[in-house]
């Protein structure tokens, strides 16, 4: 039996005492005014997320592989998101030469593997690579995993926006579990897309989570959007200006669909990813990347 509940999924515990414990995490066991630990801890996880501009192409290479893995293996968006978080934290500390895109791919595979271990889901790097026609042997992936762990100082329990989804859905005016679930599912997809824009690194995970839920509510349940927004704006843990900014950024992702939106922050040339063309396209797109990266409103 596992006694520590998952910080990334604090409400996933099925046993009642675990849930009580999770609630304590958000509202404090006795004092409801107490700021929640998760909210106070999330800033610690952002400090190292400033990806240098010259690492953006590496980020693109790595993320396109994650997107592909997510779509073809039907990975949990929260898992893919965690892997990207590792990639960003890695790139903030270590430079990968642009002319060696295979390292970015190795990084992506290793981070997916580490994220799946943290999430206790089975993921086989071999399956992913078979489709790719590009195989790293197990030993290479193992060594890269250890390198990533060393660089990230084994701090793998990142707080991501997914940690906050359940908490914020409690502000939604309807309590119907089916509606809440569809809201969460849609918000998860939006979150995953949003991560591809480097701009998303500027916002706190909680703010991104709230913005994604608002975007999802607007699309799925427009009649309840305004009351949901009003309720969220009253949440003491959310900075209203930051939420407004994040919502604006989020809207821009949502005008485009699917993988195209996913590559918004990178380069529109990656919209139709195929295993064969992806690397060439990356290379072709490198020149226009910096402008495309900042043009997230377009």
């Amino acid at each position: 039996m596992e006694f520590d509940f998952d910080l990334e999924n604090p409400f996933s515990g099925s046993d009642e005492q675990n849930i009580q414990l999770s609630k304590a995490l958000f509202i404090g066991s006795t004092d409801s005014d107490e700021p929640s630990l998760l909210f106070s801890a999330e800033s610690d996880h952002m400090s190292s997320l400033a990806v240098a501009l010259d690492q953006l192409s590496t980020r693109c290479h790595a993320l396109s592989l994650i997107v592909q893995a997510q779509f073809s293996n039907n990975l949990d968006p929260a898992l893919a998101y965690l892997a990207v978080n590792y990639i960003d934290r890695f790139l903030a500390k270590r430079e990968i030469p642009n002319e060696k895109p295979w390292i970015a791919r190795l990084l992506a595979i290793s981070c997916l593997s580490l994220a799946s271990k943290m999430k206790k889901t089975s993921f086989s790097p071999a399956d992913l690579q078979r489709e790719e026609g590009f195989i790293f042997d197990a030993r290479t992936i193992r060594r890269m995993e250890l390198l990533v762990l060393g660089v990230l100082e084994w701090r793998m329990r990142s707080i991501t926006p997914f940690s906050f989804l359940r908490f914020f859905t409690s502000y939604f005016p309807l309590a119907n579990p089916i509606i809440i679930q569809s809201l969460k599912t849609h918000a998860s997809q939006i979150l995953f897309k949003s991560q591809n824009d480097v701009k998303s690194l500027e916002f706190k995970p909680s703010v991104i989570a709230a913005a994604a839920l608002l975007a999802a509510a607007r699309e799925l349940f427009p009649a309840h959007f305004l009351s949901f927004r009003t309720a969220l704006l009253c949440c003491e843990y959310l900075n209203k200006e930051s939420l407004a900014e994040c919502c604006a950024a989020m809207e821009s992702y949502d005008t485009t669909a699917g993988i195209e939106a996913a590559s918004n922050g990178c380069d529109s040339a990656y919209s139709a990813l195929t295993p064969v063309t992806v690397l060439d396209r990356h290379r072709a797109g490198l020149e226009s990347e910096k402008t495309a990266g900042s043009a997230s409103n377009g």
């Binding site: 039996m1 006694f3 520590d4 509940f5 998952d6 910080l7 604090p10 046993d15 009642e16 005492q17 675990n18 009580q20 414990l21 999770s22 304590a24 995490l25 404090g28 066991s29 006795t30 630990l37 610690d44 593997s113 580490l114 271990k117 943290m118 206790k120 197990a138 992936i141 193992r142 995993e145 250890l146 762990l149 060393g150 100082e153 084994w154 701090r155 793998m156 329990r157």
Partner: protein
């Protein structure tokens, strides 16, 4: 591990050998915990990964022993993982022993007991608010810097990741003395109360300078508890008789805690009785314990 000079083996505990060592560059003293990493084709095992990142997260509190680094070494084809912890010179068991034995046996100063208990609650609350139960709190697992008067929680969470591969090291008999009655009675669902029970036992041990319930089997442990606190029943602990290992036990009436622990003043007795509450859901939490009047005379600003 050429970065460190191994000075001496300080323990061969539950999880493997522990060395006191010195960082050759900084001169810093560290505790090295060696463990064999069972890596296969899948790389680092998920449990190990989860445990160490959990430790990393928890060791951000100064009331939890800090994990400084994780070193991975490959030597003669064997993969070893060293966890590098900050080094503290003693633990609470040895600390209590210096007051019990030695040239000048005397009680622990009540201010020390108060301060250590407060720091213990801080560390335990930190774990609990991160959703982590320690499950093996005991004086040996509480490290002490006696000059600075600091107490830190150690040996967190590594149980699952390392107990199995290092079974050969675990000749040590697991102590039952700090184990909560619901665990002894086979409850399958338990929570922060199990740690708070241990905190209560440790509190009493600091006051008495000897363990409160020193049973040598699970049954004996229960009987020690029942003899002191009275045999629980459905009135004092609803649901107790449906626990898996519940039997008909001899009936004892509760003893007076104040008489048994004359060295504790009334606030201390009250706090202890709230930690040793039978019903786990009524047992005081670490957070509430820190607000108890027992700590009113403590200068909390220093923590």
């Amino acid at each position: 591990m050429e970065k460190y000079d191994k000075l001496e083996k300080v323990g061969e505990g539950t999880y493997g050998k522990v060395y006191k060592a010195r960082d050759k560059v900084t001169g810093q003293l560290v505790a090295l915990k060696k463990t064999r990493l069972e890596m296969d084709e899948e790389g680092i095992p998920p449990t190990t990964l989860r445990e160490i990142s959990l430790l990393q997260m928890l060791s951000q509190s100064i009331y939890v022993v800090r994990l400084l680094r994780v070193e991975h070494v490959e030597k003669n084809g064997k993969r070893l993982l060293y966890l590098v912890f900050e080094y503290l010179d003693t633990d609470l068991k040895k600390y209590i022993d210096t007051y019990k034995r030695g040239p000048n046996p005397r009680p622990l100063p009540s201010r020390v007991t108060q301060s250590f208990l407060y720091q213990l609650c801080k560390g335990v609350d930190h774990c609990h608010s991160h959703g982590v139960l320690h499950r093996d709190l005991k004086p040996q697992n509480l490290l002490v810097d006696k000059d600075k008067g600091i107490l830190k929680v150690a040996d967190l969470g590594l149980g699952r990741a390392f107990t199995i591969p290092l079974k050969s090291y675990t000749h040590e008999i697991v102590t039952l003395w700090y184990r909560a009655p619901e665990v002894l009675l086979g409850a399958t669902h338990y929570s922060i109360g199990v740690d708070m029970w241990s905190v209560g036992c440790i509190f009493a041990e600091m006051a008495r300078r000897q363990p409160l319930f020193a049973g040598d089997s699970e049954l004996q442990q229960l009987l020690h508890i029942f003899r002191f606190l009275g045999t629980p029943n459905e009135d004092t602990w609803p649901g107790v008789s449906s626990l898996r290992d519940w039997h008909d036990y001899p009936q004892w009436k509760p003893q007076s805690m104040a008489l048994a622990l004359p060295m504790l003043e009334s606030d201390g007795i009250d706090l202890l009785s709230k930690m040793l509450e039978y019903n786990p859901s009524n047992r005081i939490s670490a957070k509430d314990a820190m607000e108890h009047p027992y700590f009113d005379s403590l200068d909390k600003s220093q923590f």
